[in-house]
Every structure is written in C-alpha cells, then in structure tokens.
C-alpha cells in the first residue's frame, strides 16, 4: 500500500512539474500567459451581471491576453473587502441605490475605485402581473394599496388579513418594509430568501393567473416573460434618498433610477494598466442586456455562448474599448 501511495505521490509531482511547462499551443490555459497576472471579475447573483462579466472576460482574454477567472459573491461588504485587498479586480454592475455608508467608505479611502457608468440604467420597484392591473385598475399606483380590499387580493395563509409583499434575497437593497410601514399600508413583507425561490413563486402564481406583488427590477427578461408592470410609488425626494443611505428607517418613496456603475480594485491600475483602461471604456446598455437576457433566462442557453454571440455581432462597439 505504501508503495502505491508513494507511486501516486511521485506521479502527482511529475504531473505538477510537467504542468508548469506544458505545451502552450494546445490549451489556452493560464500557463500560456505566464507573465500576465490573472484578472478576477466579480459576478453577482443576477443574470445581467454574469453576462456583462462574460463579455468583458472573453475580450480581456482574447484581445488583451490576460488570463481571467470569476468570483461569485453577493453585492455586499464582503465584495468590497475582496476588491480592496485585490482578491477581486473588478465588478461591472454596482447599483448605487444599494451602496451603504460603510461600503461608501471603501470608495472614500481609495481602496476601491469608481470607474464610471456602465451604460445601463436599472430600476428597482414594486411589480405585479398585467392582469392584476386589468382587473383592478386602481392598483397601478401606490394610492390603490391602502384599502382592505387591496390587501385581500394579495393575502396568503401566512399574512392573514394583510396583503403579502414578496421580498427577495436579503443581499439586494430593499426598502419595502419601510415604505409599507411609513405609508401605513395593510401589507406585510415576506422574504423569499433567495432569487431561485422568488422566481419559482412568480412562475407558479402567473401560471395559475393568481395575483402577486413583489420586489423586482428592470432590465430583466422576466418583465416581458411574465408581463410584469411596475407600480407607481411616491416620487423620489432627496430627503428620502438620504434616509436610504443612512439607514434611519425613514424611506417612504420610490427607488431612485439606478445609473449602474463599474468599480475596480485600487490596485488594478498598477497590476494591469491595459485592463484598467479597457474596463474604463467598457459599456453595456439596457438594449445590450435585453438582447442577451432572454436566450439565457428563457431558453436556458449558456451565458458564455450568448456573450460570445454578442461579441461576434458587435465588433464595431467593442473595438473602440481596446486601447
């Protein structure tokens, strides 16, 4: 037995030793670009984030020649810690409405660098399927959500007389509990806890033609798949935005328009200047995202293949990003 173990050990060492100078022409692995550092890109839990990263990743590898990898992590302080210490190099889709004061501190001390707008504009809000509004036109705006009748439409066994508002993954920035309480609506927020659970619930409700009121956002493929309509909430004010940032619990207005930004580790400019310049120029618009989301979210195609297709179709767009 010892002999065999020894043999396996020798084999492993042999494999590792050969692995280092392996034939670089056959596989485009990290070894091929030994002198260039690996670029780690953050993928957050929603599909658009994975698509942006797949596009950037493929271009960084093929056009700039840097090896890349991805880190899947929630958009939270851990992500900022990773960027600050250089474990992660860049995140391409930060929603400013969710940046907390403690996360802002990373931008302020320069450990994480704001790299400009991505080009896409997001909108978080309250959504219902279109048939809910057709049957109850008053539910198109927030004013329609104060009555007991409105609550009864969305009530579930768990919420009793109150209507259910479906919250989502707790790492997403959500102010619905505050909005409901501050405005005094007869609704209760039930958190799904994860995006797969939210989507499963949405699918079940819509397939049965049942009402559902939930936290969702654009641009997403689900908005068109399930014909979701955004409910108008009280207009955004500066005071309300300040409440959201400080966390004092006073939010009582709609979510602001999210002009999505990119951010990189403060160390990236020195580590890989070419990648830094490329990412600074990198732009993805809502139309780009909406062209890539349905094949992935609805047809179950591979994120990398869809991104490759976008790259093939849009050479005129991305060639400008390469310095």
């Amino acid at each position: 037995m010892k002999k065999l173990l020894l043999g396996l050990l020798v084999l492993t060492l042999f494999a590792v030793a050969c692995g280092d100078d392996s034939d670089s022409d056959t596989d485009a692995s990290a070894d091929a670009d030994g002198d260039k550092p690996t670029i780690s890109l953050v993928v957050n839990s929603w599909t658009a984030s994975a698509l942006n990263v797949a596009v950037a990743q493929q271009l960084i590898e093929s056009e700039l020649g840097y090896p890349t990898n991805v880190i899947n992590i929630d958009e939270n302080e851990a992500m900022f810690i990773g960027l600050a210490d250089g474990t992660a190099d860049a995140v391409l889709e930060i929603w400013p409405s969710g940046i907390t004061d403690s996360e802002q501190a990373f931008f302020d001390d320069g450990s994480v660098e704001h790299l400009g707008e991505l080009g896409a504009v997001g909108r978080i809000g309250w959504f219902v399927p279109d048939y809910v509004i057709e049957q109850n036109p008053e539910l198109a705006t927030w004013e329609g959500y104060f009555s007991d009748e409105a609550a009864a439409i969305f009530a579930t066994a768990e919420t009793g007389d109150n209507g259910r508002f479906l919250g989502t993954d707790p790492s997403y920035s959500q102010f619905d509990e505050q909005i409901i309480n501050n405005l005094g609506m007869p609704f209760e927020v039930i958190y799904s806890g994860s995006e797969p659970a939210t989507v499963a619930e949405l699918d079940a409700r819509v397939s049965a033609g049942e009402p559902i009121l939930m936290y969702w956002w654009t641009p997403t493929a689900a908005v068109s798949t399930y014909s979701l309509v955004q409910v108008a909430l009280p207009p955004h004010t500066e005071e309300c935005g300040a409440s959201a940032a400080s966390g004092d619990g006073g939010v009582d207005c709609e979510y602001p328009e999210d002009v999505i930004i990119k951010a990189v580790s403060g160390k990236l400019a020195d580590k890989a200047p070419a990648v830094y310049d490329f990412l600074a120029a990198f732009t993805i618009t809502n139309d780009d995202q909406l062209s890539m989301l349905p094949p992935v979210e609805l047809d179950g195609e591979d994120v990398d293949e869809v991104a490759a297709q976008w790259i093939a179709d849009n050479e005129g767009v991305w060639s400008a990003w390469i310095g």
């Binding site: 002999k3 396996l8 992660a88 989507v199 499963a200």
Partner: protein, 641 residues
C-alpha cells in the same frame, strides 16, 4: 430518588409519590399564576447591543487594518496564499491529467482491496459529471473538498489523539466540538471574510471548521478503544510512547478514524451550496445558477454530481484502510498498475486527448422541467390546499399564540418544569439559562418562530421514519432498495428539490419543512432499521410460541426492544432538522434561518453571532431534553424484558 430507595423504601416512596402527585397540581397552578402576572407585558429590554456592538466594532477594526496589522500581514495573508496555491495545484493537476486516467486510477486503487463492486461503482460515479458536461466544475469542487478533507485530517487527528490521552483537554474541547457542529456554518462565514477575504480559500477553511468534529471525536474514540494489552505489550518490548502511538495505537484505531473521516466527507459535501455565500464557485454555484433560471432538471443533474463526488470520496476513504495482508496484491501487480497509469497519462497527453469529450450536457435532464410544469398545472390545487392548511391551522396560530398570548416567563418555567420532571434540577437549570440567554440577546420571537417549525418537522420526520425503518429492518429487500435513496437524500443539495416545492406549495414554511423532513428522516430510518434488526431472534420466537399475532409481536416485542436505538435516531433527527433551519430561510421560512442568511449576505458580524448563539442554545435544550426522554422511554422498557 436514589436516597429514597436506600433508606426506608416503603414510607419514603410513599412520600415521594405523594409529592410527585402534588407537583401535577402545583406546577400548572404556578404556570397559570405567572401567566396572569406577566400577561400583556412586553419582553424585557434586550442586551443585544452590549453583545453585538463589540463584535461589530472588531469587524470594523479588522476591515480598516487589513493591509497594515501584523495579524493580517504575518498570519492570515500568507495562510490564504498557501491554501490558494494548494487549491490551484490540485485543480490544475487534475485537469492536466487526461480525464480517462482518473476513473482508471480510482478503480485500481479501490480494486487492490478486492472490493470489486465498490471499485466499479466509484469509477462510474466519477465519470458521471463528465457525461453531463460538468467535468471542470466538478474538479473545482473536488479540489476544494479534497483540500478541506486533507486539512481536517491533518488538524483533527492530532487533536483527537491528544484528547485521548489528556482527559482535561478532552473535557475542554468537547463543548467546542458540539458548538462547531450545531452553529450553522454561515454564521462563521462572516468572520471568515474578515480574515481571509472571499473566494475558495475562506470556503475551504469554513468547510474545515464545519467538518472537523467527527474526525476528532472518532480518533479519540478509536485510540481509547485500543486494548490495553496491545499498548502494554508494545511498551514491554521497549517501544517509546511515540513508537507505540505510531506503530500500535494509530494502526489499530484506523478503522474508527476512517469512519470519522467518512462522516467528515459527508458533512463537507453538505455545505457545497452554502459555501457559494463565500464565493466558492464550483458545483454549488452551478446549482444556484440553474435554479435561478427555473431549470430544475439541470439542477438535479448538477446535484447528482455532488452525490457522485460523495460516493467516490466515501469509497476511496474506505479503501485506504480496507486491506489486509492476505489479499494484498503482489508488488509486481502494483508496479504494473502504476506503470500502466503513467503510460496512459503519457499517451493521453501526447495524443492530446485530455478534456472530457462533450456528450450530453445537463440538458439531458430537461424533461424533468416538463414534469415540474405538469405538477405545477395539475397538482397545485392539492399542494396549495395542503400548504394553506398547515400554515393557517398550525404554523400561524401556534406561533402567534406562543409569541403574543403566552407570557415569556411561562414558557421558560414550563421548560424548567419539563426538565425537572425528565431528569432533575440540572436539566431544569440548563433550560432556564439557555432560554434566558436567547431572551437577553433579543432573539426570542425569531426563536419561537423557528421552534414551531422545528417541532413540526421533527414530529413528521419521526412519524415517517419509524414505519419505514421498521419495514427496512424486517425486509432485506426494502432495505436494499432504500439504501441508495437515503444516501442520495443525505448528499444531494436540498435546494434542488425545494425550489420545485416552492412552485407547488408556495413561498413560506412548508417547502422548508419538506426539505427538513427529507434530510432528517435518513438517520431516523437507519437507526429504526438497526434497532429492529438487533432484536434477538429468541425474544421474537418466544413471543410467537406463546401465540402472539404478528401485530402483537411487532408492538409488544420488537418495537419496545428496539426503543433505545430508535430514540438515538430521534435525537439525530432533531439535530439534522436544526441544520436545515438555514436552508428553509432560503425559501421563505423566515425565523432564525432567514436572519442568518441576511447577516451573512450583509456582512453583519454581531447579528450573525447572535443568531448562531440562539440556534446553539435551542439545539442544546432540544438535544438534552430528547436524550432525557430517550432515557425514560428506552431504558426501563429494555430492562423489563
């Protein structure tokens, strides 16, 4: 009670009886009194800030000093890069080796113990992920798991050996091990991020913490179990302590230690999906991604890859010790095999046949999606009604009753009375302290919410597990058919089946209950089957001879005699249900589970510790109380026969 029997049995027993009967009146009266006094009062002011603020402050400090403090530059940073290099090396090596060499090597390694079936099963299991296009992701997870398991063994065995020799050390680490096993893993994910950042490294280390206890425990057990004579003989021949340990005790304890390693492997694979909270990637991430896209079939395909890895690692683990000299292959055979493997590697590399050929991909499982759709459209009327019945007739009323109507001192006093009745004042005191501390850190209402769900899951699991286990214990065929199902239930990531459960039932406590039951019935079934099998044939035959019907034999002889083993299963069911609290938080279960997820996802260290503490306290109360019940139920019955 013991004093009573030794002194003057008759008169004292009578007094004790009278006192016991009086208790049945006094205790309820006292509880009603407490309820009247405290009804409508609010929960006492929490101390949770005094508890969580220092932790949050420390987190803030750690975050600001990550690049300057010696703690990070001297310890954590180098450790991170060491583990990270290790992971990359394993992964690159496994991908560098031509794919077909891996199943062959696994086959040969296990086959040397003559366990042919197991060798074939393991080599087929490792091919499965490749067939469905998950080869590289699986290797990624395999590297992480392999690293975590090796580290667990390297850390766990020495600790276990030390604990075997030093009673004091053993007593000191025992509660730590208990806590490590009951604290939901995500709770220590937050400090992991603080110290080791994000990615596979903190995920590996978190897995080590979670999976370490069984290796330590069973190493201690194994070393202690080595016969004193063997140790004495070795000492007599002039062996030093170190030699005795290395040449006698460890080899003799090896089977027990390996049983611990096997458990460690299973536990490590149990948090593959949760580790994605740390950015671990791999199969866990694939599961999350496919489920976000409502691709149940691909989720199942990916989940089965986790089951496959578990099967491979389990069999490899057994093969490490499953060999005796008589069956050992000759040196020549070994050399030929090793040479053959090297030859295959050289052949594969030079022919450039390295990556797993593209076959079916996980799309092969897409028909399952149609099945879920069919169930959604045709069974939902029933499942929704079931869901709503459970929620509106059990969950909501009981939760609200315990939170709003019953005053908190009544709940604590009831737990104390129950503890005193079951086991005496020690258990009563323990229950009061545990529940009191939950109250003080402000986790009372969330804990009640979770408690109501846990009780339902435990009761239903037991009601399901005992009949199934009894059937498996009596009929070999049933057991053979169940065995792979139970293995799969224990290792497949539960999200794979609870996301479709959400589609059928709805967001809320029911999908979480289902997941908890499916996960927790496994030890219940296994131990019930074991208990029934252990019933001596003579007892059964004797009862049949006296003309007992099969039904009478079952309820009068078999089940009572198996009661103790069955109760051990009940205890494990409770622990596993508690382990699933987190998962139910991912599908709308609320309570402590959701709070834990929320603390991790928002990097709230203090909150994370509070929730973890509350879960551990609840685990301690339920564990000790169920053991006390087991002692009351099991022991006298067995003794009576």
């Amino acid at each position: 009670m013991t004093a009573a029997t030794t002194l003057d049995p008759d008169s004292l027993n009578a007094t004790a009886d009278w006192q016991r009967r009086a208790m049945w009146i006094v205790v309820p009266l006292a509880l009603v009194g407490l309820q009247l006094i405290f009804a409508g009062t609010r929960l006492p002011e929490h101390l949770d800030e005094t508890f969580s603020d220092p932790l949050d402050d420390f987190a803030g400090w750690a975050q600001q000093n990550r690049s300057s403090n010696w703690l990070f530059t001297v310890i954590f940073r180098p450790l991170t890069s060491l583990v990270s290099t290790g992971l990359e090396t394993i992964e690159e090596t496994l991908l560098w080796v031509p794919w077909f060499v891996i199943p062959i090597a696994i086959f040969l390694y296990i086959a040397r113990t003559r366990a042919w079936k197991s060798a074939i099963a393991a080599s087929l299991a490792i091919i499965y992920p490749g067939l469905v296009g998950l080869w590289e992701v699986t290797i990624e997870t395999l590297a992480l798991m392999g690293m975590a398991i090796v580290l667990s063994v390297l850390i766990g065995v020495p600790i276990g050996v030390l604990a075997a020799f030093r009673r004091g050390f053993d007593t000191a680490i025992r509660p730590v091990l208990d806590a490590m096993q009951t604290i939901p893993a995500p709770v220590y994910f937050v400090p992991m991020v603080m110290f080791f950042g994000i990615g596979p490294v903190p995920a590996t280390l978190a897995t080590v913490i979670y999976a370490l206890p069984p290796v330590v425990r069973l190493t201690t057990l194994g070393i202690r179990g080595v016969a004193q004579q063997s140790v004495e003989a070795s000492t007599m021949f002039g062996a030093t302590r170190w030699q005795t340990l290395r040449k006698v005790q460890i080899p003799m304890a090896l089977p027990t230690i390996m049983a611990g390693v096997t458990q460690t492997i299973m536990m490590a694979l149990g948090i593959v999906v949760l580790a994605t909270l740390l950015g671990a990637g791999g199969l866990g991430q694939s599961v999350m991604d496919t489920l976000s896209q409502r691709r149940t079939g691909r989720g199942v395909a990916t989940g089965l890859a986790v089951v496959a890895i578990a099967a491979v690692l389990d069999r490899l683990g057994r093969a490490v010790v499953g060999q005796d000299r008589a069956t050992a292959p000759s040196r020549r055979t070994v050399l030929i095999c090793v040479g053959g493997v090297i030859g295959l590697i050289i052949f594969g590399r030079s022919a450039n046949y390295i990556a797993f050929p593209e076959m079916w991909e996980t799309r092969a499982f897409d028909p399952i999606d149609d099945g879920v759709k069919w169930a959604r459209d045709n069974l939902r009327w029933f499942t929704r009604a079931f869901n709503d019945t459970v929620v509106s007739w059990y969950y909501v009323p009981v939760r609200d009753y315990l939170t709003d109507s019953v005053a908190w001192p009544v709940i604590i006093a009831s737990a104390a009375a129950l503890g005193a009745w079951l086991k005496g004042w020690r258990l009563a005191l323990l229950n009061v302290c545990a529940m009191g501390s939950i109250l003080l850190i402000g986790m009372w209402e969330l804990s009640i919410d979770t408690f109501v769900q846990v009780v339902a899951a435990v009761v239903l699991s037991i009601l399901l597990a005992i009949p199934v286990g009894v059937a498996a214990g009596r009929h070999r065929r049933v057991e053979a058919a169940l065995s792979p199902v139970l293995d799969a239930l224990q290792t497949i990531p539960s999200l794979v089946y609870i996301i479709p459960a959400v589609t059928l039932f709805t967001i809320g406590v029911v999908p979480g209950l289902i997941a908890s039951i499916l996960y927790a019935i496994v030890p219940g079934v296994r131990l019930a089957a074991l208990g029934i099998k252990q019933v001596p044939t003579e007892s059964v035959e004797a009862s049949q001879m006296f003309g007992a019907t099969p039904r009478q034999t079952m309820f009068g002889v078999r089940i009572p005699l198996a009661a103790r083993t069955i109760m051990a299963g009940v205890n494990q069911v409770i622990m596993l249900v508690l382990a699933m609290v987190i998962i139910s938080g991912l599908v709308g279960g609320g309570g402590l589970g959701f709070e834990t997820i929320s603390a991790v996802k928002n990097s709230e260290v203090g909150l994370g510790f509070e929730v973890g503490f509350a879960i551990v306290m609840m685990a301690i109360v339920l564990d000790r109380s169920s053991q006390a019940i087991a002692d009351r139920v099991g022991a006298p019955e067995v003794a009576a026969h």
